[in-house]
Amino acid sequence: MQRNRLAVAAAAALAATLAAGCSGAAQEPAAPAAQSSAPAGPVKLTYWTWVPNMDKIAAAWNSANPDIQVTVSKQAGGDDAAAKFLTAAKAGNPPDLVQAEYQMLPSFVAADAVADLSGDVAQAKGEFGEGIWGLVTLGTDAVYALPQDSGPMMLYYRQDLFDKYGIEVPKTWDEYAEAARTVHKKDPKVFLGTFSSKDPGAFVGLAQQAGAQWWSISGESWKVAVNDDATRKVADYWGGLVKEGAIDDQPYFTPEWNKALNDGKLLTWPSAVWAPGVLSSNAPKAKGRWAIAPLPQWGTGENASGFWGGSSTAVAAKSPNRAAAAKFATWLNTDPEALGLLVKEGAVYPAAAKGGTMLGEAPDYFSNQPDFWQRAAAISATARGFTFGPNVNVTYNAFKDAFDKAVQDRSAFSEAVGKMQEATVADMQKSGFQLAQ
């Protein structure tokens, strides 16, 4: 009987909230106000992140700052994390701090889920490269997050097998294509590389290198140019290689791909600075045989790269402790001690410029290349800036659909880029964004 009564009470409470929900949003501001008038004790912050060992890094902060105590809650990373944060922000109980991937940050901004920190973190600007800083300002005067880690792209290649097949490290994409044909001719089971139709992040990085600018903000309106010349050039380059069979077309991060890496059937991987972690766990057999070089370039004399992945630390708009949260975010991403911990415990490549000096010894997997981090830092400095739009998930899904089909039908990749543009524009119009023509 007791249990029955409990169920009735719960049902009544739910009904009451339903009624409250109908009576409008007038209640909403009540909660933060109540919290800010609470007696002054240590400020308690919650932080959603998926960086490994972030709790240890936060513990270092907590012991030095008794007034601001940060509780880390480790979440699943990726798109689901963004959806979860947006839902929590909408419901009015987001965490104070959240890890935001660069491509997701604009959708947080569009939903008013993250705070503008320009008043709190102005002095941090000098700590970051211009390209990375642009990722958190979206090209405006506001600052929506502090950059945490970045993923400058470079060319990972099998040094031993390059020697075996007698090919040079390609300096341009033309040389890369030539090398792909040579390798595949010498051993039809071996490919120089593969084009993944499942990883829009990698494609965006390569498009950035060519100078693509998919989104830009002018005044109050967005400009969408997913199908700009640079992107079409990159798409058709890879489309041509896939069509003639010079490179493979299997996606990254599958068991088959792992096996191909492990068995030396794939000789290169244009990837980001975080690749050692992936390679060491997915292709343990090839330890000490990989090396890095800058990405092949589009023209001789050019020297550019792009970003694949990376994330920032944002503060929720509804957080009652914005200043304290911004203080922690600044410490985490600019203080030498924190950067050192990020590198050591979190295994991330810090976005801050001085983060590069924290990285001394090369990753164990790359023990054959002792200057790994120095090279990576030099390449990182050449990465081009980029602005993401408010509906990257739509664009990315369109990428997967259109490129899957293009790979299957061996049709032109630039058409697939056209489909991405259409899907992106249609979705933004439907969501009510102002678009510049």
């Binding site: 739910l14 991937e101 096996k259 972690g277 057999k285």
Partner: protein, 293 residues
């Protein structure tokens, strides 16, 4: 009543002796069993493989890394896996118990009492069966946020207590298993509603309640979306959500496949144990019910 069951049983026995479909039903069942057991056996084998073996050795070749995997899993973030296991036990065990209690009482009431609005309530419940729980998760999250219960143990327990299908099952079972005459006799002897429920109805309904408990336990044990949306604090995660954080570790961290597979293997052991123990209980009670009628 007794004679009809007898003749029905007689027919069944004759049909069984003739076996008009040969071994076809057995073969289909075997295929079904294979279909269900193959993935489980894959998990069993894959959990024994070390990091290096997982993607390089042939699929069903056992590996050598089981002990290392177990040790790694136990050491992962100071043993957070065991905490998730306890949380899951709390959600599934507590939720299934509460749900069974609510369902049994509601089902019995709907089956044996006539009151105004009974059919309306029952039809609403039937309608509730048609609404998948997945659809409700986000509205429930918004409601729980309003009453300040989001990100608490209650936010995962409460929504799973009221389960329309279980109430429906309990009603059907109570209709069949609790004879009106028995309740009538109890009333004549002066028993009140509470006593009738406790001493007459519930004991008769136990096999049905065991079924409901098992269904709910498994459903909550496997539930992912509700806790994923409701919970932000990783100390309160159940296994499903916890293991997912190992899988979706972000682009720049490799997924911890070894730990996930070992964790998955460990997480199905309690379910298997529960079924093996509860199954016995189930069968004796079904037989007991048969004897009484």
């Amino acid at each position: 009543m007794a004679t009809t069951t007898l003749t029905a049983k007689g027919h069944l026995r004759v049909a069984a002796r003739r076996r008009p479909y040969g071994i076809a039903p057995t073969a289909i069942l075997l295929l079904g069993a294979l279909y269900c057991l193959l993935p489980v056996s894959w998990v069993l084998v894959a959990a024994t493989k070390s990091k290096a073996e997982l993607f390089s050795t042939s699929t069903f070749a056992p590996g050598t890394g089981l002990l290392t995997n177990l040790a790694d899993l136990a050491a992962y973030r100071d043993g957070v896996f065991w905490l998730w296991m306890l949380n899951t036990l709390l959600y599934a065990g507590g939720g299934a118990l509460l749900s069974t209690a609510v369902s049994a009482v509601s089902g019995y009431t709907l089956a044996k009492y006539r009151f105004r609005g009974r059919n309306l309530i029952f039809n609403l419940l039937i309608g509730g069966i048609l609404v998948p729980a997945v659809v409700l998760a986000i509205p429930q999250y918004l409601l729980f946020s309003r009453i300040g219960l989001a990100d608490t143990y209650w936010s995962v327990l409460l929504p799973q207590i009221l389960h329309p299908y279980s109430i429906y099952l309990a009603r059907i079972y109570a209709t069949a298993a609790v004879p009106d005459a028995l309740l009538e006799a109890g009333r004549i002897d002066g028993a009140g509603h509470w006593l009738l429920l406790r001493r007459v109805a519930l004991p008769l309904m136990i096999p049905g309640m065991v079924t409901i408990f098992l269904f709910q336990f498994v459903a909550i044990w496997n539930n992912f979306l509700l806790p994923f949306i409701m919970l932000g604090d990783d100390q309160m995660f159940p296994l499903t959500v916890g293991l997912y954080t190992l899988l979706a570790a972000g682009a720049n961290q490799p997924s911890l496949y070894n730990l996930i597979l070992t964790g998955t293997l460990l997480s199905i052991i309690p379910l298997i144990a529960l079924f093996l123990t509860m199954q016995r209980y189930w069968r004796t009670d079904l037989a007991g019910g048969g004897l009484k009628s």
